[in-house]
């Protein structure tokens, strides 16, 4: 049975607003012929039963779209992956035809779903649809899994060579870190006052050497620091925060062991005796999870294939029903970085999944905000584990309840607790319950209404758990939150309490999603 999508979910796939608009225009029967949807038995085109095993069927939606050209475009979508193919020359992915087809299907405008009741699936699927799906699923078993992240490059390469490369990288980073340390002490020795007159190149040059030293996250931080002197009153404090944070990372790096403890966390066995170590001894080295956090903070990439393989061996993948708390795209020219936050129903764990899209292309992973799905997640090693890899999904997304939230005090505590584990964290994801966004002469505030139950919460049988929070407020982190998002939040709340998901951290709260009349609304 092919589960129909909501229009919101289709539009979340679009690479930009223009594509949404163009797709909507095509979401009418007019330009389409040969429409169909349903489960398609994969053909044994090669006679080889390896992939297209008997009885295997995959969902597909397809149609021919007549544009201005002479020949109609052939558009087919595999909604489970999701993946698409279209014969149009558009470089946008997915193209407007795929979006229009999905929108039409989501509105019930594509016949053929009825054929699902027939075991043989959609009988009328043309050959080009069947062969595309067969090519996707009918090849080697390894490609049967939809590619949401790049496959591991050379996963089976010579382990000795891999070790050598890791050692080389560690050495280059160590050199870079030494250089950055000297640079930072120079800044503080000569005084930050000069930074106001220094050009952007002052930070850019240092950032480039960090890129050369394979420490891209430190480079990001330096570029951010370069924007501080122009950021208005109080900039010296913000600049010193950036420098102090980098210094903290460098000092922690001093305690990092060799590359071996990254490859094999078991080597850190001496600390697994359960005894509490005093400060002096701790200086000797970092525990493995914290060392992994530090590496991520500096810019080591984690090989997700390796991660999945290890999780499979050790059984550490976390299977749960994950509610999609939020999804946010950051343009980092020319690529788009998509952050997707998930909340596990059984485990109560929050996870962050990242996906990247090239210029003009949507990131390959899109999940419907506010819905839940069952999946295996593999968390990256970290002292405060958050980043995760979506390993395997078990079933399509389905509607989920409004997530339980916490009060303003609890949000601050959650961040403090995360800092205790990873002191360089800037933010931590939290779901706030019963809050409203309030514009104020001093700026926006997220105000806790303290049990002043909204209609929504009352309908859901919510209880005023946060009565003690009345009048508590969090500042809004304006650097990561547009005006528009705050006004939308205010408009939906109308002064009543809402559940809002966002990131809380050093500069305040940045809302990402809110729940309005039981529906998740991305801000």
């Amino acid at each position: 049975m092919l589960e129909r999508w909501t229009a919101d979910r289709v539009l979340a796939l679009a690479p930009d607003a223009a594509s949404q608009k163009a797709g909507t225009k095509l979401a009418a029967p007019g330009p389409w012929t040969g429409l169909g949807a349903g489960l398609i038995p994969l053909g044994d085109t090669t006679g080889d039963e390896q992939g297209g095993a008997p009885g295997t069927a995959r969902g597909g939606v397809w149609g021919l779209c007549t544009g201005s050209g002479a020949t109609a475009y052939r558009t087919v979508v595999d909604p489970d992956a999701p993946a698409w193919s279209c014969t149009c020359p558009s470089r946008k992915q997915p193209c407007k035809h795929a979006l229009g087809l999905l929108l039409l299907w989501s509105a019930g405008g594509v016949a053929g779903d009825a054929a699902d009741t027939d075991d043989r699936g959609a009988v009328g699927a043309p050959a080009w649809v069947t062969s595309w799906l067969t090519a996707r699923y009918g090849g080697e078993p390894a490609t049967a899994r939809p590619k949401t992240e790049r496959p591991a490059g050379g996963g089976l390469a010579d382990p000795e060579a891999a070790r050598r490369r890791a050692a080389q990288k560690a050495a280059r980073v160590a050199e870079g870190v030494d250089e950055l340390g000297r640079w930072l002490t120079d800044q503080v020795r000569q005084g930050l006052a000069g930074a106001e007159r220094a050009g952007y190149a002052h930070w850019e040059n240092e950032a480039r050497s960090m890129v050369d030293a394979q420490a891209p996250r430190l480079a990001e931080r330096l570029r951010e620091a370069g924007t501080r002197p122009g950021s208005g009153e109080g900039w010296p404090s913000r600049l010193l925060e950036d420098y102090a944070l980098m210094w903290l990372v460098l000092r922690a790096h001093d305690r990092l062991g060799g590359p071996d403890d990254a490859a094999d966390p078991g080597l850190d066995g001496e600390r697994l005796d359960g005894e509490r170590l005093d400060g002096a001894e701790r200086l000797a080295g970092l525990e493995a999870p914290l060392a992994a956090s530090l590496r991520a903070r500096i810019g080591w990439n984690v090989d997700s294939a390796e991660l999945v393989k290890r999780a499979a061996e050790q059984g550490t993948a976390v299977r749960d029903h994950w509610t999609v708390l939020g999804s946010r795209d950051d343009e980092d020219n020319p690529t788009v970085r998509r952050q997707i936050w998930l909340l596990g129903e059984r485990t109560g764990r929050t996870a962050l999944v990242l996906a990247y899209g090239a210029a003009g292309q949507a990131p390959p992973l899109a999940l419907p905000v506010g819905e839940r799905f069952e999946a295996d997640l593999v968390f990256h090693d970290a002292a405060a584990p958050l980043r995760a890899h979506l390993a395997e999904r078990h079933g399509p997304p389905e509607p989920a309840d409004v997530p339980a939230g916490c009060g303003a005090e609890d949000a601050a505590l959650a961040y403090a607790d995360a800092l205790r584990r990873e002191p360089w964290l800037d933010t931590w994801p939290v779901v706030l319950a019963d809050v409203a966004a309030v514009p104020d002469v001093l700026g926006w505030r997220i105000v806790a209404l303290g049990g002043d139950l909204s209609q929504d919460a009352a309908d859901m049988g919510g209880l005023p758990n946060f009565a003690g929070d009345k009048g508590f407020w969090l500042p809004v982190d304006r650097s990561r939150c547009r005006d528009d998002a705050l006004w939308r939040l205010a408009a939906m709340s109308g002064g009543a309490g809402m559940t809002v998901f966002g990131e809380y951290g050093a500069r305040g709260f940045a809302p990402v999603t809110c729940w309005h009349e039981g529906r998740a609304v991305p801000l």
């Binding site: 404090s237 903290l248 050093a506």
Partner: protein
């Protein structure tokens, strides 16, 4: 009441902070002071200023003792890193924030999901607010349709709607109506949306309290509604606060008296002719001009008939006034034309426009068409005719409007005619003269064209295609046809796409037109779906 707090005791990578579980508030104050000291030192440079000492008894004292760096710059960065984490971890929410006012409920249903998604796309999706300078061509119809069906706007899209209607005032009436009480609640918070507080509230309350405490838009709606029920009571209410209202508000309240206008209002309007605000004086004169038996109307008719008289059976004598006296000024005739028209011609036009049209039919003892058929002296003809046209519009006189409407007449005359008559008139014009001069006339037609007009335009387009006219000279008309034609005419458009054998652009024009009509049909259907 507040949860007990654990201070991050171990800061990996740095000496541990074991002694720091002291009183929260004192700790924060202490740490803030230390941080400020560190910032001041860093600003000047450790080369010139000593690194601040840390109170060993303070929360960071023990940790700071283990910072044993000899280099002052390194010591400062160590202390800054310690303090940074301590500050971040110890930051607590503010307290005592005023709770926001609650917005009154809106009982109307919200639009179905598909219609909401459509609106979001029409508003530019999640794209940058910068994209809101141009409006999507189908947005006005979406708004009108949602309003007509009695929906409220989806709250999530209100900021975008209020922004777009701020820039496009033609959308304000629909947006304000759809936004309802939530829109006015937001207007109180955001000065950019102040316009929404000034549009007559569609969901007017019958509570007299609104008149005393409401926003301007709510008061205006209250007054208008009351005027419909009891014109005298409404006028009395307005007179009570009249002197205290700002001039801009007085002008709009006065205009609201057009509802239920009668001779009982004459005395009030006469005093308003002496108002301090120019807009109020002009408004009062305009209302008085529509009261045929008023003293004002008699004064104006006297002036008008002194200038314009019958001359024989087929001509008119015109003698414009020589001066604009005090009495004329009081009756709303300005000394100078704002567009620089010659003075005597300007005064003449103003007098004719402000004279009740019944004065002419009485003085000439003829129906409007006969008066209009008479010859006018060339020099003043334009001013007199323009004055009659303006009077017909202002006084909603269909007989005069009908008599004047026609080729070359001002388009606004059509606005006086009933919708079907207007469409039939324009359809006849299009059938006779084609589309080359029809744009303004079509723009004056109702948002959804009656089919007689739609067919006339399609026929004219088909003729143009047959004659291989340049399609781009019709792009304005085809664009408007897409927005205004009844989507039910889609089959007729389809026929054109298949029968137009021109290899050039025309088939494309009809395909695009069909596409727009199809999209509008889908858009309307989305309001029915659930």
């Amino acid at each position: 009441m507040t949860p007990s707090r654990t201070i991050p005791a171990e800061t990996p990578g740095l000496p541990s902070l074991t002694e720091s579980q002291s009183n929260g508030v004192a700790m924060t104050a202490n740490t803030e002071a230390l941080w400020d000291d560190l910032v001041s030192t860093a600003l000047v440079g450790t080369g010139k200023r000593a690194v601040p000492g840390v109170d060993p008894a303070g929360p960071l004292g023990a940790a700071a003792l283990s910072v044993g760096r000899a280099d002052p710059a390194e010591r400062l960065l160590d202390l800054a890193a310690l303090t940074l984490v301590h500050r971040r971890a110890g930051r607590r929410p503010g307290t005592g924030a005023a709770l926001p006012d609650r917005c009154p409920p809106d009982p109307r249903p919200t639009v179905p999901d598909r219609a909401r998604v459509r609106l979001r796309i029409l508003l530019g999706g999640g794209g940058a607010p910068a994209g809101r300078t141009a409006i999507a061509e189908l947005l006005p119809e979406w708004l009108a349709e949602a309003r007509a069906r009695g929906f409220r706007a989806p709250e999530s899209e209100l900021p975008a709607l209020l922004d777009i209607a701020r820039a496009h005032s033609e959308l304000r009436s629909d947006v304000a109506a759809l936004a309802g009480p939530r829109g006015r609640w937001l207007a109180r918070l955001n000065p950019d949306w102040g316009w929404a507080a000034r549009v007559a509230a569609a969901d007017t309350s019958a509570d007299p309290d609104v008149w005393r405490h409401g926003l301007f838009g709510e008061r205006l709606a209250f007054l208008t509604a009351l005027r419909g029920r009891g014109p005298d009571a409404a006028r009395d209410l307005l007179e009570q606060t009249w002197r205290g209202e700002p001039a801009e508000d007085r002008a709009q309240f006065l205009a609201a008296l057009a509802t239920g206008l009668s001779h009982a209002d004459e005395a009030f309007l006469e005093t308003a002719l002496d108002d301090r605000g120019k807009a109020v004086r002009v408004g009062a004169a305009a209302l008085l001009a529509t009261l045929p038996g008023s003293a004002f109307a008699r004064r104006m008719a006297e002036r008008a008939l002194a200038c314009v008289r019958p001359n024989g059976t087929d001509a008119v004598t015109v003698v414009p006034p020589e001066a604009c006296d005090e009495a004329m000024r009081r009756d709303g005739i300005a000394d100078k034309s704002p567009t620089g028209r010659e003075e005597r011609a300007w005064w003449l036009g103003e007098i004719v426009a402000a004279t009740p049209l019944s004065a002419w039919t009485e003085a000439f003892a003829e129906p409007p068409a006969a008066i209009l058929a008479r010859r006018l002296p060339t020099r003043w003809a334009e001013d007199v005719r323009d004055g009659w046209a303006r009077a017909a519009v202002a006084q909603h006189d269909t007989a005069w409007a009908r008599a004047q409407a026609g080729r070359g007449a001002p388009t606004r005359l059509l606005s006086v005619l009933p919708v079907d008559e207007r469409a039939a008139h324009v359809a006849a014009h299009v059938a006779e003269h084609g589309l080359s001069e029809a744009f303004q006339l079509l723009a004056g037609c109702p948002a959804v064209w009656p089919d007689v007009l739609g067919h006339a335009v399609l026929d004219a387009l088909a003729t143009a295609a047959r004659e291989s006219a340049y399609p781009w000279s019709y792009s304005g008309v085809t664009g408007m046809a897409g927005r205004s034609m009844n989507p039910g005419l889609l089959p007729a458009v389809h026929t054109l796409t298949t029968t137009t054998d021109d290899a050039g652009y025309w088939p494309r024009v009809f395909t695009d037109l069909a596409g727009t009509l199809r999209e509008r049909a889908t858009m309307r259907a989305e309001f029915d779906a659930e």
